[in-house]
């Protein structure tokens, strides 16, 4: 009878949310990310000016009531460009991570669950890709595919894939030897069902944490590629390409560089804070 009066046990999601809420850094990160995401989604309604329309009479003007963040080297409103640039950054982050998950998780699951030569082949290829620095590989791929935001996202996604493969494989190896997996197998579940229904859900928490961290580095990579001219093509705004053109006016009009720089910093920091918070919240040992 006593058990009937006890509160119903919270779902795992609610438990994680409760723990996450206690971590102030993670909440600040989440707030910033949500804000940037909303701004990116509603960019055309939020931006007061057309982000690509040049005004040659208001070149390099410091922040004012008319232009909150000032104007850039071609007289375009920096605030509007930052708002539209958020789209490129968020899109690059989300799509790259989606690509990395879509390729990395099935391969990692396969390597960890099937083992044997499949594991050897997948793991060695992963090792080879991991040996190449993240950004160098992304630059090489983006240069090979040709300069555009889509290709930059593909390059970043493919580059982030090896980490996902390795993480999934490691988690699968840890989980597959647990009793409940043995039980699921012994009652006659076919291997694909065991892998997808019984192993994959227990690998997800680690993948979620990793995804937020990869998102952060994907945003930095998009900015780096756009800075190098391999991402978003002018005149469309991107925080990275805005930093590139700001170089010329660093001493005379520093605000052109400050805003995109600050936005990259704040967004990446927020994803890292959220990732850290999620890691703690998802850790069953932490209370």
């Amino acid at each position: 009878m006593a058990s009937a009066n006890a509160p119903a046990p919270a779902s795992p999601g609610a438990r994680v949310w409760r723990r996450l809420r206690r971590r102030r850094g993670a909440m600040v990160g989440l707030f910033v990310i949500l804000t940037v995401a909303i701004v990116a989604a509603l960019a055309p309604w939020i931006a007061p000016y057309d982000p690509v329309l040049q005004s040659w009479t208001t070149v390099r003007k410091p922040p004012s009531a008319a232009h909150w963040f000032g104007t850039d080297e071609l007289g375009r409103d920096i605030f509007s460009r930052i708002v539209h640039g958020a789209r490129a950054s968020m899109l690059a982050g989300v799509i790259s991570v989606a690509i990395a998950i879509a390729i990395g998780v099935p391969l990692g699951l396969l390597a960890g669950y099937v083992g044997r030569w499949v594991d050897v082949v997948i793991s060695r290829v992963t090792d080879a890709l991991l040996a190449c620095p993240f950004l160098i590989l992304a630059i090489a791929l983006a240069a090979f595919l040709g300069p555009s935001l889509t290709n930059a996202m593909i390059a970043i996604g493919v580059t982030a894939t090896p980490v996902m493969i390795r993480l999934t494989r490691g988690q699968v190896l840890a989980v597959r030897s647990l009793d409940y997996v043995d039980a699921a197998t012994s009652v006659g579940n076919p291997p694909p069902r065991v892998a997808l229904r019984h192993i994959l859900p227990n690998v997800l928490p680690a993948l979620m944490v990793q995804s937020t961290l990869v998102l952060a580095s994907a945003i930095t990579s998009e900015a780096s590629l756009s800075f190098l001219g391999l991402g978003q093509q002018p005149p469309a705004p991107s925080w990275g390409s805005m930093l590139n053109t700001a170089q010329r006016s660093l001493t005379t009009a520093p605000w052109i560089a400050v805003w995109p720089g600050a936005m990259i910093f704040v967004t990446v920091l927020s994803f890292n804070l959220l990732g850290d918070g999620l890691r703690d919240a998802l850790d069953p040992r932490s209370r």
Binding site: Q54, E73, L74, P147, T245, L250, T252
Partner: protein
């Protein structure tokens, strides 16, 4: 005993330091890039020319107005047919390894440029048929076809003389790091990507005209960093001050700006060959003319370069001897006429993809042009690529139009023929006009510059009519230096010459 020895050492050091500072004068120069190979035969960079100017004397040089003046050659005579030139060489000149410079050596040098594997000078001077040494101090250079532009090439690396004995001894690699020439300074130390140090060569034939004992070049690719190092006092002189920084340098009482008047330009070259070309642009010169007419060059110069460049539309800036005064500068913008031309050929909205390098200046120019030509009906897209990749794409014909700068050459022929004559490597758009080639050949055969001028005016008019390329602006190299650096002049080739340059007050 030990402490006494230490005190003695310290005292000696203290006495020696100021003495060294007094006798050693040095100028530190900030470059935009690493010079690369210092062998004039294999050097391929503009900044390399700046370093080599102080280390390797040339057969001839230019003066501040762009006239060709004697250097290692004291005089020269063109044959009436323009197919050979006889040069009298300076006597008593020695290389940095004390071997003498004479006719045999000059002949050997030119032959080295023509035959050495990996020589970048060969395509420049391949018009040379043979070189003969006449006595000890005269050479005769015979050409396959008339080319008075040869002398202008001798004001650059093709005219730099090196000690062939030293080259044989050192080998290609070592010589590229430490060339032995006959300039006022010898290369004392070269640390690639870090610095080049030159030391005074006391046996130079004009050693007294150079006041510094030591010249140090350091590469700083970022123009802001270069400028900050000038402001902080680490550097005495820098090249390529960004146009947007010029106002702040001029406002600084400790700094000065000197502007070079070189015939440099930035152009858009259109691909005229299928399959990659934009059909409308390849087929109709009117479309290319309309594109040029839609550009407001004055506004472009004002917006992107704070009005510091020249809004010209010729390979020579206004004021240059070869500039065609019959054509207004800058070309007035005429959107209505541009639209009319497009209607005339039935292509009201031509599309074009413009390939540019990731250089932030070029990205700005391309975006301004994009907005300007859109008003006339053009739909232009921009594709950015790293500079070398862009050049390769252009050389392979994988582009519709591309924007590329040229540092400019003092001879008008080199400023035109190198990128637009039929079949030359840099003519990536594959324009070929017998009329223009005929004019260029005619110009190369005439030594008198007043007689040459009308020929190049016609050549420029032909280019403007056919518009296989359009010129956007004439850039000007600006040097920044400390106010204490005096006597520094801007030359038409944008190269730093230290003759007569001093630092006052021993600073």
């Amino acid at each position: 005993m030990r402490s006494r020895l230490l005190a003695l050492l310290l005292a000696t050091a203290c006495m020696a330091l100021p003495a060294a500072a007094q006798t050693q004068s040095e100028i530190r120069i900030g470059l935009g890039d690493d010079p690369g190979s210092l062998d004039p035969a294999t050097n391929a960079s503009f900044v390399g020319r700046i370093v080599l100017q102080s280390a390797c004397d040339k057969l001839v040089d230019i003066d501040v107005d762009g006239n060709i003046v004697p250097m290692l050659a004291t005089s020269w005579d063109w044959a009436a047919d323009g197919k050979s030139v006889t040069m009298k060489l300076r006597e008593g000149v020695v290389y940095h390894d004390d071997t003498p410079f004479d006719a045999e050596s000059a002949k050997g040098n030119l032959e080295r440029y023509l035959t050495m594997q990996g020589s970048r000078r060969r395509p420049e001077i391949e018009a040379i048929e043979k070189v003969e040494a006449i006595g000890k101090d005269t050479i005769k250079i015979s050409l396959k076809e008339p080319s008075v532009a040869l002398l202008a090439l001798f004001t650059d690396r093709a005219g730099m003389m090196v000690s062939l004995a030293a080259f044989e001894k050192a080998g290609v690699q070592a010589f590229a790091n430490r060339p032995i020439c006959a300039g006022p300074y010898r290369v004392a130390d070269f640390k690639p990507q870090q610095s080049v140090t030159l030391e005074r060569f006391p046996k130079h034939w004009r050693a007294s005209a150079y006041s510094f004992d030591r010249v140090t070049f350091e590469p700083f690719p970022d123009s802001n960093v270069r400028l900050l190092n000038l402001r902080s006092g680490r550097l005495d002189l820098i090249e390529q001050v960004a146009p947007t920084s010029l106002a702040s340098v001029e406002a600084d009482p400790n700094l000065r700006i000197t502007v070079g008047q070189q015939p440099a330009f930035t152009m858009i070259q259109f691909n005229l060959t299928a399959p990659r070309a934009s059909e409308a642009f390849a087929k109709h010169p009117e479309v290319r003319q309309a594109f040029s007419l839609a550009i407001d060059r004055t506004a472009l110069n004002q917006v992107v370069f704070s009005g510091r460049y020249v809004p010209g539309h010729q390979p020579f800036p206004p004021g240059n001897f070869w500039f065609d005064e019959t054509s207004p500068a800058p070309q007035p913008r005429d959107v209505a006429r541009a639209r009319a031309l497009l209607r005339q050929v039935g292509v009201p909205n031509p599309t074009l993809e413009l390939l540019i390098s990731t250089n932030s200046e070029h990205m700005e120019v391309a975006q301004v042009v994009q907005q300007m030509v859109a008003e006339a009906g053009f739909r232009m897209e921009i594709r950015t690529m790293e500079f070398i990749a862009m050049r390769n794409a252009a050389l392979q014909g994988n582009f519709q139009a591309y924007m590329v700068p040229s540092a400019g050459r003092v001879d008008p022929d080199l400023n035109i023929s190198l990128f637009i004559a039929c079949g030359v490597a840099n003519n990536v758009g594959k324009y070929c006009s017998q009329e223009l080639d005929g004019l260029l050949a005619q110009g190369r055969a005439v030594a008198d510059r007043n007689a040459r001028k009308p020929i190049y005016q016609k050549a420029v008019q032909t280019i403007q009519r056919d518009a296989p390329i359009i010129f956007l602006f004439n850039q000007r190299s600006a040097f920044g230096h400390k106010a204490v650096v005096q006597g520094f002049k801007g030359f038409p080739d944008g190269i730093v010459r230290l003759e007569g340059v001093t630092k006052v007050a021993g600073r």
